[in-house]
Assembly symmetry: C2
Homo-oligomer: 646 residues x 2
Amino acid sequence: MSPEPAPRLSVATVCLSGTLEDKLDAAATAGFDGVEIFAPDLIADPLSPAEIGDRCRALGLSVDLYQPLRDVDSTDPDRFAANLRRAEAGFDVMAGLGADTVLMCSSVAPDAVADTDRLAEQLHALAGRAGERGIRIAYEALAWGRHVDTWDASWDAVRTADHPALGLCLDSFHVLARGSDPGPIADVPGDKLFFVQLADARELSMDVLSWSRHHRLFPGQGGFDLPGFLAPVLAAGYSGPLSLEVFNDVFRQADPLRTAVDARRSLLALAEATALPVAPLGTAGTVHGNTATPPARTAPAGTRRGVGTDPVAVPPPELAGPAFVELHGGPELGPVLRGLGFSRTGVHRTKQVERYEQGGTRLLVNAAGDGPTAVAAIGVESADPGASARRASRLCAPPLPRTTGPGEADLAEIPAPDGTSMFFCRTADDGGAPVWSHDFVAVDEPPVPGAGITGIDHVGLTQPYDAFDEAVLFHRSVLGLDTIADGQFAAPFGLVRSRALADGARRVRLALTVSLLRRGEWSPAVADPQYVALATDDVLATAAAARAAGVPLLPIPANYHDDLAARLELPAATMARYREFGVLHERDADGDLLQVCTELLGGRLFLALVQRTGTHDGHGWADAPVRMAAHRRSRLAHQHRRVVEP
Amino acid sequence: MSPEPAPRLSVATVCLSGTLEDKLDAAATAGFDGVEIFAPDLIADPLSPAEIGDRCRALGLSVDLYQPLRDVDSTDPDRFAANLRRAEAGFDVMAGLGADTVLMCSSVAPDAVADTDRLAEQLHALAGRAGERGIRIAYEALAWGRHVDTWDASWDAVRTADHPALGLCLDSFHVLARGSDPGPIADVPGDKLFFVQLADARELSMDVLSWSRHHRLFPGQGGFDLPGFLAPVLAAGYSGPLSLEVFNDVFRQADPLRTAVDARRSLLALAEATALPVAPLGTAGTVHGNTATPPARTAPAGTRRGVGTDPVAVPPPELAGPAFVELHGGPELGPVLRGLGFSRTGVHRTKQVERYEQGGTRLLVNAAGDGPTAVAAIGVESADPGASARRASRLCAPPLPRTTGPGEADLAEIPAPDGTSMFFCRTADDGGAPVWSHDFVAVDEPPVPGAGITGIDHVGLTQPYDAFDEAVLFHRSVLGLDTIADGQFAAPFGLVRSRALADGARRVRLALTVSLLRRGEWSPAVADPQYVALATDDVLATAAAARAAGVPLLPIPANYHDDLAARLELPAATMARYREFGVLHERDADGDLLQVCTELLGGRLFLALVQRTGTHDGHGWADAPVRMAAHRRSRLAHQHRRVVEP
């Protein structure tokens, strides 16, 4: 890789919630180099442009772009003259801010100029005014522009206008949402690429304006090929900032610091994918990467940034599957795990943690502290846990401070956006650094007979409302997983978004869900359910063993099985067993997914037994509404029992 | 009008949140006659179909429809045979439920039959099976059906199949969203119209499937012409239930009883608009129309319904403008109102309420009880307050119980969905029933000089998240207002939906807003702001008088006025005055809207001075983000002052 300088990383104030002050503080604290300032943010601010510019500089931020000039060109000469005066007022603001580049959007107005030569003439006139003041016009084609709605149409106009103060602004959303080929961007002279804005999106079937204004995402959170967009941009010789312009309904009202950290992570991961060098943050900047409670919003100015061009690009960990799943919970979990065929094989030397094993499947039970029964952590096997943790730090996800006893494995604990911890660890003892399993002292206890569990199939985690897209990016970038399913289903108490991530070999699977709308006061559902899906090759046998050992299995309504019998035409004997154990059965072209769930263990956690046939790649979402209604019912029944029984 | 029987009113379980039990209870309590049962609701329920049928009957509900059969026809004979077996399983369920009509959707599957004759043949075969069991197939064209996607295509197939157990299901959404003309429905034989589903929607620019699945509304909440749809349906001779099938993301997770009451109100208002008779509820059913706290969900079975066909159709009140706006608040409001030129002219005989007047503009201040300073009520002039209140009761919005002293006006107090009360009242004393203003005893106090207030321009009310669409229907139906604006704007802390309602003469205007997404934990904005916009013909003079009298006016940033000066090219002298008093100025083709706001009076209420020129019909939403940022700033400054000053 050539020793080219690291690109500057910028974020538009439109990406972040709050007043301009909130946004600048968040951008600086997250470690951005610069910002795009959106005019309405400035207009609502009591500081003058010069004071805002001073504030940015004090925070270590450059003002890389002021935006936008709208609807400047006009078929009406008087209106065009008025528009030029309006633009000059914008230049005055920029002089105060100390910004030298302004975004001009292609016009959406009825009087927009259609003729390229006439448009170029007006652009030339505008650029002339700008150039006299040392300002550059970055012209951008909105995907819904009246006449100029593709990047090559904007390039036609800019090329024809031929003014040194006029260049292009390229926005990945406008290019990719239209299905335009970014390849030919490589042929644009690099000095005509004034600015590049980056945004991702999920494939949604809606008009492009609504899609753009409400549902943009940070790179890596959606399905756009951002590396494929950036490559020709860089090949053309673009050397300006990589800047995020993401209009998103959730980010607009979420904590701006969390969003800013998420945003910066997206650029670091994109730079990695594009083999760009990036300047790392100093330690102070990384401390509050994605902790559950963000720090006070005071930027530790000056001390924040590191130096050099140390690349992120340590490869993501080779995932050899989950080393363990750690549950937080009390002694009530023991009998359930034993009933599922797990033997208690060890207790931690210094922590209140017990280890249960069945074959190579390991569950830990952490009884320290209060809090509900829940998934506390997932341990993933990494060939080099230390390198994986350093990589996470560079992706704004530093390990939590952690007390390690003498001789214990130094596990890196990375908090995911939902508060669950991810551990990078090694289980096999090859004579290197201490392995985590040695931190446990064997217990002298007879093993219980196994029940056929062969591994962790996946872990299901309901996400905090604001953290869903952040979580997708976190797991993609820090763990190196890919999105393998993206959908939604109608649950009894509202719609639920679902997204599954896994490695290519399907060793590590996460099933993330979130309410489509934030829950309100009427929320009788189980709040934020979580589960661990345990793999078995014979779900009926495993369920039978579990029930015999007293594990409370979730009853499934007869109506479900009646419907299933009609849909799949299964033998009566099979159906009888399904009814007995509450089997949920999904079938698609690739195979079958059979599930049996336990009742809730505490307020939100359950375990599932999962059998896959063929190459079925699902996570039980077709049957989730039935399961959710059943869990709510059993929870109500238990509450009722608690009330009526002494 | 002919003495035809009132139509039965039904609601689909898909409209409501919760388990099937929650939904049936809500539908019964709201007074529906019947339900459509959505198969997935039944499948997730532990009661057998027969038990569900019994439960419906115990609640006084008929099962008017079971739905849906999907993807029945097939170009593959084996698959069609399997689909028929699947349909038979559905018929078994219906036998248990005691339902005789099933909805069949046009197929969306790749193997759907395109040829009308072949499709008709398969429909005939299915209807034959159904007919043998006393079941009717109501065939519906989904707007996104593979081949059959318009109502007339579905009618072609039904007519060609020509089987007595086969008829049409018409869904207003599918007809109106495609822009189909419902007029020719009048020519379909009435006995072939098996079922009619009603749904409204706002005009949204998105694919019809997403629009249908997420954004349907109850009739009267959107922009579809439901009376224009229903008229030809009735002209054809349809006499079955009027049933609601509304897929809506918010309703899916809101309190089902509130939604059910809202739903029933929509049908009553539609029946009124279509001049249909409707059976009223008995008193027990109306008590908990739309109180802020819905009652326990136990249905008072049997006693719920009244008898007869007493129509709703008392016309909505003739609105002669607001009689008063009542603020809840303490003595701190007095100086502000006096500063705005209002004189204290009376105190209520028996309640802790003071009356302030300026010309014909009346504000009441209610100091009873705790709670924040807020808009407590709006009094609207009605020629016959009693009739208006009875009409509201019939629209599931009964008056609150209220203590009236001897000789006092018997005001009907109707709570709106946001908890604000609406009073129907008379101010002019024409010798009839007591007028409300006589309940006040004059105070012996010198009047303050007026400040130019000429009336109540409008009242701005932030709605509870779940109540926005409900509020629109409430104000349209109960007050007889119309939607005059519908939009959204980007506020500093997230997107805001806005909707204005008014009478034709613009005497009564309400500006409703709600966060596009429910607010989360990071909510530094002023929570649920409310305001009363006071009309003036000279906002600068009124603001000058107010400031001279010590009213705290909201400062507006210089950046806003710099931008305004550039946009509107206003004279420097005008701009100087604007800056002095914090004038916000919006201009459109119809005229100008000038506003000056007070700082917050308490936690959420402010007053605005509003001057309109020309026929400007707006509500200040373009400038709302600037105002919101300013209010947050002044609130923080006050909090800070409170902390740092003794």
